[in-house]
Amino acid sequence: MLDLALKNILRQKTRTILTIIGITIGIAAIITLGSISEGLTQTINSDLEFLSGFITVTSKDASTFFVGYLGSEITQDEANELLDVSGVKDVVPFNLATGPIIPFHGPEYIVYGFDPDKNEYFEGKDIDLESGRRLESSDEFVTVIGFNYAETRHITLSDFIELEDEEFEVVGILEKTESDTDDIIFLPLDTMNDVYDFDTYRAVYVIPDDVSKMDSIAETINEEFTDLSARTTADIAKQASGIINNVRFFTVGIAAISAIVGGLGVMNTMIMSVLERRQEIGILKALGATNKFVMRLILIESSLISLVGGIFGVMVGFVSTFLMKTVSQGTAIAIITPNLIIYSLIFAISLGVIGGLYPSKKAADLSPIEALRYE
């Protein structure tokens, strides 16, 4: 039967190829957009991990964590007062600045200033060094940079990079992480504030004596400091999962629509094919093919078309993800997981089966005598 199904779909090659292309485009879209949303998810999750155990304090109306608390300003006085809140072990300020924005990706690089003495609280602490060393207490005009930032600009140790008309010597390069840390520039906080002329911090991490008291400390800060907003990791995680779900829903939704259009193409092709083959189906039934046999034959044909389309779609998805990474010089984060591939193929086959159901029922219901008369 598989043999007959294959011969049938190869009979109208152009039509079959066009139908396969329809499915290919849909599945390629799912793979590409799905890989972007997967990349985003993993980046956010890795960002969340390092935040565990602190309370993040920003000014009241600042934007979220994911756009770098844009607009938030914390003064040194506020930082000192936070240190006096009961149960607070330490207050760790930092500053952020961003490079030019690349469409669909975000900033070209992020400048991140922190106190080298408090290295343990910062992003990058768990990332091994590709070469060089980390920032140290006495450092001034030196920097540790992310893997991509170095690689795309051919920067090696002891080279100088220029920021705000000042030169910084590269003393360390981080390993590749496939997250936004790959495009980071770490500076000593005091030097950064001088160079950028900052007199406030973007935000501070409040470190509790006891992690179990995190929620109550955050609550106290929110009550006592009316201008500030304290968020725990749990709050941020909740915010993150909301964003992730929206992004997923939107990207995969758009892709699914195009795949469903491909599925309608399969249905159309199979309806045409059944109409053209009325007589043959009549002969098969006269010879003793059951309704089930006819139905299965048509379903196998439509599933074969959509499976081939699905496999091509996955291949095109790989290529387009690769191109996207190349064009963006490795800054675009797109990850194709095995699950994404498996679900896409299952989706493709289901489109074929669903698209083939109606035509196969139509074919099975043909009366042999009617079909034989049709010439």
């Binding site: 007959l4 098969l284 006269a286 010879l287 003793g288 309704n291 005598i369 034989l372």
Partner: protein, 227 residues
């Protein structure tokens, strides 16, 4: 008991109750015995083909019965009717009706595979049948690479695939020239001599001449029923 098929008061009405009502079969009673060679003749529109379709369980009567091997087929489900067609009946059509995508041998194998036999069994059986119709050297030709007469011989081989109780042929020589027709008639006659029961709807006097039983139809009725 060597009766193969009989009909009881077989009635077929098209467009029943409407102004263009046609009575295609008007209470037809016939009996076909094992080894018969029956020729159904009559003018166009007399109901010959309709009767053949009824005997072949391809069409449903308005009323009356078709009894094959003591089974009243009008009582059966679609799938059971399909099984009767597959196991007990072989069809030969005027248009040959081979499946164009399949080679000669694959066409002959089709009904055997439909009955669930495995590939090696079905291909050795199909080759045997192609030998009977003298076409084993054309086994891998597609229908469009065969002449009309050769296609009809493949179709006859196919009709024998599941060793049916009866072969039903609808104008088997209708699309063939007279010389080729003679070959087909001879082939049918030989099969009859080997014991196959054959019912042929035909205008062809040479077939009717061979027949052991002639059924003449007019206006949906059997006019005379010899022997």
């Amino acid at each position: 008991m060597n009766e193969v098929i009989r009909t009881e008061n077989l009635l077929k009405v098209y467009n029943e109750g409407m102004s263009n009502e046609v009575i295609a079969l008007d209470r037809v009673n016939i009996k076909i015995k094992k080894g018969d060679f029956v020729a159904i003749t009559g003018p166009s529109g007399s109901g010959k083909s309709t009767l053949l379709h009824m005997l072949g369980v391809l069409d449903k009567p308005t009323s009356g019965k078709v009894i094959i091997d003591d089974i009243d087929v009008s009582e059966l489900s679609d799938d059971e009717k399909t099984e009767i067609r597959r196991e007990k009946i072989g069809f030969v059509f005027q248009q040959f009706n081979l499946i164009p995508l399949l080679t000669a041998i694959e066409n002959v194998e089709m009904p055997i595979q439909l009955s669930g036999k495995d590939k090696t069994k079905s291909s050795s059986r199909a080759l045997e049948l192609l030998k009977i119709v003298n076409l084993e050297n054309r086994r891998d030709h597609f229908p469009n690479q065969l002449s009309g007469g050769q296609q009809q011989r493949v179709a006859i081989a196919r009709s024998l695939a599941n060793d049916p109780n009866i072969i039903l042929a609808d104008e088997p020589t209708g699309n063939l020239d007279s010389k080729t027709s003679q070959e087909i008639v001879k082939l049918l006659k030989d099969l009859n001599l080997k014991g196959y029961t054959i019912v042929v709807v035909t205008h062809d006097a040479s077939i009717a001449k061979f027949a052991s039983k002639k059924v003449y139809m007019r206006d949906g009725k059997v006019d005379n029923h010899e022997k």
